[in-house]
């Protein structure tokens, strides 16, 4: 538990497996057995082929930086962070999600598109939020 005032997501029935995953330090996403592709955000059916034959799998946590901004006007709970990166990352499994980049000084020079990242998790209240940090060694 932390005292962060950052926004805390509130899971819904279809998203609960994702948030149970982050609480366990895992990034769980859905996989369609019919078209054999992953998808995100959580839904009961595959958005590509419409199949309901879908399963939850644990992603590797490896990703690359797809795009970002460095926000200079902080949102609630981010007042003490200094400029922070709001990013879209692409997981190794092919899906994209929004996140923050942490674990490095947030400058354009340090944040190079397509750089390798890996997932880390930040507790907020009862929920753990996935963040990404530069991978120690480029794969």
């Amino acid at each position: 538990m932390t005292t962060s005032s950052k926004p805390v997501p509130k899971p819904t029935p279809e998203t609960r497996p994702f948030w149970e995953g982050t609480a366990a330090g895992e990034l769980r996403i859905q996989h369609c057995r019919a078209c054999r592709r992953h998808y995100f955000y959580p839904r009961h059916r595959c958005p590509r082929c419409g199949s309901g034959d879908v399963e939850w799998v644990t992603a590797s946590g490896r990703a690359k930086l797809y795009s970002y901004v460095i926000n200079h006007r902080p949102g609630r709970g981010f007042e003490d962070d200094g400029p922070y990166a709001i990013a879209v990352v692409e997981l190794e499994e092919g899906v994209r999600m929004m996140t923050n980049i942490v674990g490095t000084e947030i400058t354009p020079e340090n944040l190079v598109l397509d750089m390798p990242l890996h997932a880390t998790f930040e507790d907020r209240g009862d929920v753990s939020v996935p963040l990404f940090t530069p991978a120690e060694d480029a794969r």
Binding site: K6, P7, V8, P9, K10, P11, T12, T15, W19, Y41, Y66, S67, Y68, V69, I70, N71, H72, R73, P74, G75, R76, G77, F78, D81, P83, Y84, I86, A87, V88, R96, M97, M98, T99, N100, P108, L113, R124, V129
Partner: protein
């Protein structure tokens, strides 16, 4: 059945209007559009509007009992959707004359709802935790990817507000009129890298309204101003969150809505005299020019920097000064339509000579939705 815009007007003033509630902005714009059309309340049997306070309140306050209502709310593009839906409703005989209204106290926030996002909504779960603060922190994310893939430079991005200020400079109603340089833009404070303040739209108060009816009815009742003809329209949506766009460097809704509108109108790009592309941020007109097919991929930055969209250029764009310099209440789309109407009537502050065909592209909810209208001063 041919459809026309028979009335079009803004509130008396736009900009900082702390003495106007959100509802009053709708009503003042509506009254002005009715007067512009030479019509009265009892001529209206259709109402379309978006956001606060909604079509029931607007209709009731105006004393109108509509037989057709559209509250489609897909962001700042909603008014373009309303025009297309109104045309379909009129053709289907559901109503004969539609009033579309917009009012937003975006700056003063009088009678305006608070910004909030339910923490159990999908964006509340998968965007809000990352410190997003409205469009400045989400709509802007595609830009760096686009720059990497096409080679667009920071200087070219900064050229967009510079060019649009040249138009605003000629428009007494524009909020910002002083000419600026690329250096001024790059020296303005960073809001969300790579975006500086001058690359982000204004936040203002104001309203606008349109009267849409059939050409036959407009001619039968007689209108005060020249009619503007709707030749084609298209609409589409993509993703509710920026992160879920298929490709951050191109808008599917821009492509699909413009293709539909061009096809219905039967026009080619070379036919277009005047273009409005909703410019919430500097990269949006760049996406618009490419996704609508006016230029090839990666060429829009150069196209703008070379002066093609300037006064006297071959594709005058955002001739009121746009959301970057003219006004931006929050849902700017109606102001883009209104400027196209003024240009086609020949009554714009910065008039494009012989503007006969105008295209308006509106985005909504960042890149979530888009609609395109093809408008003409006379029917070909």
């Amino acid at each position: 059945m041919n459809i026309v815009i028979a009335g079009a007007a803004e509130t008396d003033e736009i900009g900082k209007l702390p003495g106007h509630s959100t509802l009053q902005l709708h009503l003042e714009a509506a009254e002005n559009a009715l007067e512009d059309a030479g019509l009265a309340h009892h001529d209206i049997d259709g109402i379309a509007t978006v956001g606060t306070p909604g079509p029931v309140q607007v209709a009731h306050a105006l004393g109108v009992t509509p037989s057709w209502v559209d509250g489609t709310g897909v962001g700042g593009s909603s008014f373009l959707f309303h025009v297309r839906h109104a045309a379909a409703a009129i053709r289907a005989g559901l109503c004969h004359t539609v009033l579309i209204t917009h009012g937003e106290s975006g700056r003063s926030r009088v009678g305006a709802p608070p910004f909030s996002r339910a923490p159990d909504s999908i964006p509340g779960q998968f965007e809000a935790p990352y410190g997003v603060l409205g469009p400045t922190t989400t709509f802007t994310i595609p830009a760096l990817r686009y720059m990497k893939e096409t080679g667009l430079t920071h200087e070219q991005l900064a050229t967009v507000p510079v060019v649009q200020r040249r138009w605003a400079n000629r428009n007494p109603r524009a909020m910002h009129r002083d000419l600026i340089t690329v250096d001024d833009v790059l020296a303005s404070r960073l809001v969300a890298y790579p975006f500086h303040l001058l690359e982000c739209c204004l936040v203002t108060d104001g309203g606008g309204a349109l009267v849409v009816t059939s050409q036959d009815r407009a001619e039968a009742t007689g209108t005060a101003k020249p009619q503007v003809h709707l030749l084609g329209a298209g609409e589409s949506v993509e993703a509710p969150m920026i992160s879920q766009m298929e490709d951050l460097t191109t808008s599917k809704a821009f492509r699909l809505s413009s293709a539909a509108a061009f096809a219905e109108a039967g026009i080619e790009h070379a036919d277009v005299d005047h273009l409005m592309v909703y410019d919430a941020f500097a990269h949006v007109p760049i996406f618009g020019l490419e996704d609508m097919g006016f230029v090839n991929r990666g060429e829009a930055g150069g196209f703008i920097a070379e002066g093609n969209t300037l006064p006297g250029g071959r594709l005058p764009m955002n001739t009121n000064g746009g959301g970057l310099s003219y006004t931006h209440t929050g849902m700017y789309g109606i102001f883009a339509i209104l400027e196209a109407v003024r240009q086609l009537r020949g009554e714009a502050a910065a008039q494009v000579p012989d503007a006969e065909l105008s295209v308006v592209l509106g985005n909504g909810g960042m890149f979530a939705s888009a609609a395109t209208l093809v408008l003409a001063g006379r029917r070909p």
